[in-house]
């Protein structure tokens, strides 16, 4: 299956969804006005990937900013990953946050409490 590679913009994150390696990354800023439209290809991709998921799927989320409408879409991505996990494959989410960015750490913890996938909280230097 094809990978997804989308270059980041000031409003949308860099996306790398690689079926061959099982690595899924969302990095940068996610503040589009129409997040549902932006995230739809990734959500669809995960649906297809679910049937051929790698033994381990590694998810890297490294966001500087995200708006409310993105927060729902990111949850949709996590819910798709949760299905993969429930299907017996290993999934881990690495949630990166800049040191001192308590809001971003807290956002990760919020997701962690909603989603049944292990989260790794990783502090990065500014």
């Amino acid at each position: 299956m094809d990978s997804i590679q989308i270059e980041g913009t000031p409003k949308t994150p860099t996306i790398e969804f690689d079926a061959a390696s099982g690595v899924v990354s969302i990095k940068g800023r996610s503040i589009p006005e129409n997040s549902v439209e932006f995230y739809k290809p990734m959500v669809d991709w995960l649906d297809e990937y679910a049937s051929q998921a790698k033994e381990k799927t590694e998810v890297n989320i490294q966001l500087e900013y995200f708006n409310t409408s993105s927060s729902k879409c990111i949850l949709d991505v996590f819910k798709k990953l949760e299905v993969i996990k429930k299907g017996g494959n290993d999934v881990v989410i690495n949630w990166f946050y800049e040191e001192d960015d308590e809001d971003m750490l807290e956002a990760g913890e919020d997701y962690q409490s909603i989603i049944s996938i292990p989260f790794e909280m990783i502090e990065t230097e500014e």
């Binding site: 000031p10 409003k11 006005e33 549902v36 919020d110």
Partner: protein
């Protein structure tokens, strides 16, 4: 006295303004403002954490404006009309938005904001997670997640005011302090 937009805007932009705007609200305007404002906040000497918090709140408030602003009464219905003003004084950032709303949403908005304003930090967190995980909502947001998120992230109350314009329209002013 009936609401006069020009007087309101003049009062609003009297002091400590780092950016302000009134007129048509478009996606391009929001994009340009968000591109510029981060640098302007940094130039005011605010620390990185404060800039980040303020930027987040500005994104939410301006996008709220974009999604919910109506036309100005008597003006073309295709043109969303609104105003915003970002002020900085002594390390405190105030983000003010203003737009017209139809009279019948005023009570709903007031109730929602009052409910959010009495919640503790912990309760806001719980409510945020509840809305996030339970509600299906459109690109416009909905479910009040944006307002809850603003209150949760900034730790401040939603300060609002409604001014009667005529029997159909009210003017809604919202201030978030960071």
């Amino acid at each position: 006295m009936d609401f006069q937009f020009d007087n309101w805007y003049q009062d609003l932009t009297k002091s400590n303004v780092i950016m302000s705007y009134q007129g048509e609200i478009t996606s391009e305007l929001i994009e340009k403002t968000l591109d510029d404002i981060e640098l302007v906040l940094k130039e005011k000497g605010l620390n990185k954490k404060k800039v980040k918090k303020a930027y987040n709140a500005i994104v939410e408030e301006l996008q709220n404006l974009y999604h919910h602003a109506l036309n100005a009464p008597g003006q073309s219905p295709d043109k969303k009309f609104g105003a915003f003003c970002i002020k900085v004084k002594d390390d405190i950032v105030d983000i003010v938005t203003g737009n017209y709303v139809i009279f019948n949403v005023v009570q709903l908005l007031k109730d929602r904001m009052d409910q959010i304003n009495i919640l503790s930090k912990e309760d806001l967190k719980l409510l945020y997670k509840k809305i996030l995980s339970n509600n299906s909502f459109s690109d416009k947001g909905g479910g009040g997640l944006g307002m809850v998120d603003l209150a949760k992230r900034t730790g401040s109350k939603l300060q609002y005011d409604f001014f009667e314009f005529d029997e159909k329209y009210y003017f809604f002013e919202l201030t978030i302090r960071v």
